[in-house]
């Protein structure tokens, strides 16, 4: 895959602009929620400065995503994190404390940047899994699981992230 062959820190100016644009939209929405339209010019200014700062900090390249797939992913995430919370609450409250902690290694095939970051962070909210460590090359994840079979949800997450960023379709690989 092209993404991992390119140097780790490389990010083109165009990609940085995409990143800045996305950050700007999010910040502007946050401003709207905080202040409504009061002082909108100040909000625009703050969102601009903030998004440029965010763009300078961006380390991975932004990946194209589709709005309807983001919604799908959000739904998946909500359901799974709900299941995760219920599961761990049930285990904590049971008298016999049914947990069986184990470490697993998981090879991340996702490209660097948003997909991989999303993977590492969301794993901790799925039922029974926690991202416990990452190898120094960033390719291998150590997952801590509470019960046997929990790794299945990691596989599902992987597939979901691929779909979100259109990584399973052939044209995405040419980009």
């Amino acid at each position: 895959m092209a993404a991992s062959d390119v140097g780790k820190r490389s990010i083109s100016n165009r990609q940085r602009l995409v990143w800045i644009g996305q950050t700007f939209v999010l910040l502007a929405l946050t401003w709207l929620a905080l202040n409504g339209l009061d002082g909108w010019w100040l909000g625009l200014l703050a969102a601009s400065i903030g998004s440029v700062a965010g763009g300078l900090l961006a380390s991975g390249q932004p990946h194209p995503w589709r709005p309807h797939r983001l919604l799908g992913f959000a739904g998946f995430f909500l359901v799974e994190s709900f299941k995760g919370g219920v599961d761990v609450a049930w285990r904590a409250l049971r008298l016999d404390l049914p947990i069986n902690p184990e470490f697993h290694r998981y090879r991340i095939d996702l490209p660097e940047g948003q997909p991989r970051t999303l993977m590492i962070s969301v794993i901790s909210l799925l039922p029974g899994t926690l991202s416990a460590d990452l190898s120094d090359d960033g390719e291998e994840l150590v997952v801590h699981t509470l019960m046997p079979g929990a790794m299945a949800s990691v596989e599902r997450l992987d597939a979901r992230i691929r779909r979100l960023f259109s990584l399973d379709s052939p044209e995405a690989n040419n980009e």
């Binding site: 903030g50 965010g54 300078l56």
Partner: protein, 312 residues
């Protein structure tokens, strides 16, 4: 209401227990962690006392910046010489407990008797609240800071600057490895930064704008900016530099300059010293103060006269 009382009691008890732990923990690091927790409980206490301005300041400065400063100083000691930085938590002092008990009794007596005094009708705060309608400012705290006690606020900016200059005078600038803490391969830290830093800029601006009408203001906004800066220094995105450039020097003194410039300049128009000519001046001074406070705190944190960016 009993629920209120229970909550207050719990917060008060929490403050006492945490304070005890802060001073008596076995290791300095644990004391520092508990001090941060103590600051958070203080912030909750301020909200119970109906002072959200102070809750904001306490969370950002009292817990956040002070805690990070302490942790950083501790780390510097370890880097300079790991052997001797350890300590025994308790020294010998025969008078410690009696003195502590005595001061508790004294403070409690003063506080409780002050509570029982017939409250004055015409306190400065009442007067300030009455005058506030003429100023165009909705938040009395900002009004007091900039309109009624503006000399204090001006001198406070000077104190911050003096602290920075003093720290610079007495200590050698920190080397890069003394400032940065996290240099990891985890992309999560980068993601956190890319979220927190833009948001800290937005929230600082929000607090600045909000400060004229509701809780917020230059100090809280500056502290939020400083928190973002601290995160950048911790992760080596910003590194200590030897010499401050013109931009740094201007930004550090901006608050003071704007205050003095407008406050003295107004005398040319026959006004009294530091009489601010309108809301626009308040906005201008507040913005300049925010920038100065944020940068000064970040520089104090990094222990360096200037910071340079490093491409991630």
């Amino acid at each position: 209401m009993s629920v209120d009382l229970l909550i207050d009691g719990l917060l008060g008890l929490g403050m006492i227990v945490l304070a005890l732990q802060v001073v008596s923990e076995r290791t300095v690091l644990r004391s520092i962690i508990l001090f941060v927790v103590f600051g958070l409980v203080m912030a909750l206490a301020w909200t119970r006392l109906q002072a959200p301005d102070l809750a904001l300041a306490e969370a950002a400065i009292g817990a956040g910046v002070t805690g990070a400063l302490m942790m950083m100083a501790w780390r510097r000691l370890l880097i300079i010489n790991p052997e001797h930085s350890a300590d025994t938590p308790r020294g010998r002092s025969a008078v410690a407990i009696p003195v502590a008990l005595l001061s508790t009794a004294l403070v409690a007596t003063i506080g409780l008797s002050a509570l029982n005094i017939e409250p004055h009708i015409d306190t400065a705060g009442r007067v300030a609240l009455d005058e506030m309608t003429d100023t165009g400012l909705g938040n009395p705290v900002t009004g007091v800071l900039l309109l009624f006690r503006n000399l204090d606020t001006l001198l406070e900016m000077a104190v911050l600057l003096i602290a920075l200059l003093g720290a610079r005078a007495i200590s050698a600038p920190a080397r890069p490895e003394e400032a940065a803490v996290v240099e990891t391969t985890t992309p999560l830290v980068g993601a956190l930064l890319a979220t927190l830093v833009p948001l800290s800029i937005l929230i600082a601006t929000h607090l600045l704008l909000a400060g004229t009408n509701e809780p917020g203001g230059a100090f809280q906004a500056g502290a939020v900016l400083a928190a973002g800066g601290v995160a950048l220094v911790l992760t080596a995105r910003l590194q200590p530099a030897k010499r401050p450039g013109l931009a740094t020097q201007l930004a550090v003194t901006a608050g003071l300059l704007a205050f003095v410039g407008i406050g003295v300049g107004i005398m040319a128009f026959g006004e009294t010293l530091l009489a601010l000519p309108g809301t626009w001046a308040v906005y201008l001074i507040e913005t300049a103060m925010m920038v100065s406070i944020g940068l000064t705190l970040a520089l104090l944190f990094a222990g360096a006269p200037a910071l340079v960016g490093r491409r991630a």
